[in-house]
Symmetry: C2
């Protein structure tokens, strides 16, 4: 078998982003940790870490880290039977889209209780990268818009996130005095999450606009919403995020009958252990409080969530 003491040293140095803090986390001296990593590298005949410009695992190191993570999830299942095994905390690394994290996610997991401390290691990713991370085993689960699961994983539909085209009333007056025309959509500044944000493109394409349009780039879900609230642009915002501002009249809809629904699927390792299985059950059950029914017509048009 692999020498897990050595792997644990690798894990600690990467998690803590340094030898000194990694050693501290393990209750070891820095030189003991360095020796373990050197020993691991000499046994494998390859480096597991790059030291500069910042500490990062090599390709091999990443594979070892994934392996440790999987072993830990499996070990956790043993704890119910052999509590003396000792490790009390359970860590789950999960990739999810920014809009979920900044809206419904925290409330949805808040009442999930395994009776043991569960710690989340969240990674914000667009869906393509999230699925690659699942495939490489870097995350134990991910939220994304694709129903098709990767090898070794299951996918469950959670529901849809509804996006509404919104702006401040003042912005609408200035930029859309004649309504939502193709010309106005080509002239008015939009707010876009990233240069591959297909949601906005899909919205304007619906109005026949495929030309480039002026836009701010804002890679933060809450920041995105705030840019629109501040009157800097218009954009597609999750209903969960803009509902209150719409009620208060601080934001207005560009159109009343247009919405885009992005489906969200929960992907998780099959061999991820009982906690991950239970969390998956839990999410499937509670997500409908925040998400819409996927039987809506948009079901078959997945768009990457931002």
């Amino acid at each position: 078998m692999l020498d897990y003491k050595l792997l644990e040293a690798l894990g600690a140095v990467v998690d803590q982003a340094g030898f000194e803090r990694g050693a501290q986390a393990l209750g070891l001296t820095q030189s003991a940790v360095s020796q373990r990593i050197k020993l691991l590298e000499s046994r494998l005949g390859q480096p597991v870490l790059v030291r500069a410009p910042r500490i990062a695992p090599t390709e091999l190191g990443r594979r070892l880290l994934n392996h440790i993570q999987q072993v830990r999830l499996l070990e956790h299942d043993l704890l119910d039977y052999v509590p003396a095994l000792g490790e009390r905390e359970h860590r789950l690394r999960i990739a999810l889209n920014a809009d979920s994290l900044d809206t419904w996610w925290c409330e949805a997991v808040a009442d999930f209780d395994t009776g043991q401390p569960l710690l989340f290691d969240l990674v914000v990713e667009d869906q393509e990268t999230a699925l690659t991370r699942m495939r490489d085993g870097e995350v134990a689960a991910c939220l994304c818009a694709t129903p098709r699961s990767v090898q070794g994983a299951r996918a469950r539909p959670l529901g849809g996130m509804r996006y509404l085209p919104v702006a401040t009333p003042g912005f609408l007056e200035r930029h859309f005095p004649g309504g939502i025309t193709p010309d106005a959509l080509t002239e008015a500044p939009g707010v876009v999450f990233g240069s591959d944000d297909r949601l906005h493109q899909r919205y304007i394409a619906h109005h026949g606009v495929t030309a480039p349009f002026p836009h701010h780039l804002c890679p933060s879900s809450e920041g995105f919403h705030r840019m629109i609230r501040a009157g800097l642009g218009y954009g597609l915002v999750p209903e969960l995020q803009c509902h209150d501002a719409l009620e208060r009249g601080e934001l207005s809809l560009l159109e009343h009958d247009t919405k885009i629904v992005v489906p969200l699927y929960w992907h998780y390792w099959r061999q991820g252990g009982q906690v991950l299985e239970a969390l998956s059950e839990h999410l499937t059950r509670v997500a409908r409080h925040w998400l819409t029914d996927l039987s809506e017509s948009e079901r078959h048009e997945p768009v990457p969530p931002t």
Copy 2:
């Protein structure tokens, strides 16, 4: 002089993350854009783009992009005199910390008006990377906690962001029944922005705790705040973000007299043109609405903002 048509093609392909969309943005065919980039590469004798796994500039490509950005900023100043030059929009690429973007930033820039459309290209970065990006010329300005400016740039103090240690009342009852003791701080789950989040470490070190502590990792400012609101952990949240929840009693302070102030400095290119200069003046003037006076004692202890 350089052939700016070729550089423009490079810029469009990178900005739009693809040849097809880059070509669309320039109103050219895809093959025309490919040819321009090939010509650029053959003239320079080196690739300017890597094509896989996704389109990204090479080191040389990045330098060229920085150069275009600087030239554009300078061109913009000419527009006042020669409006016929044509380019109407002004883009500013700015790196800033997640907490600023998710709290005061949008409101602060909302009333900045140059009389011409100004579009923001925001990049969320921790302070070290932000300064490297300034140094490499990738961003025209950045917000960070370091007063020392990089070469070719100026730095202005904007004020301090005040962070408060908070949790839900229920969380405090469960995890801190005997007050904020070192033991409780070592046992209670914290919420940390990233593995190099020194703010939390500084807070617990103030209580004599240097041991590892259980923590969630959540790399989103709003998500961070929501995890704490959902009772998943305690942590240091900008006062701007938790003020209302504290008023409503949904969050409580761990201690009444402890706060950490992170100074924020605005760094911007000296040769960045009039719009950047005016924005810098504007921010220096308005930021005090949201930020505290930097004469507070914490001034000389910069901590990376998250």
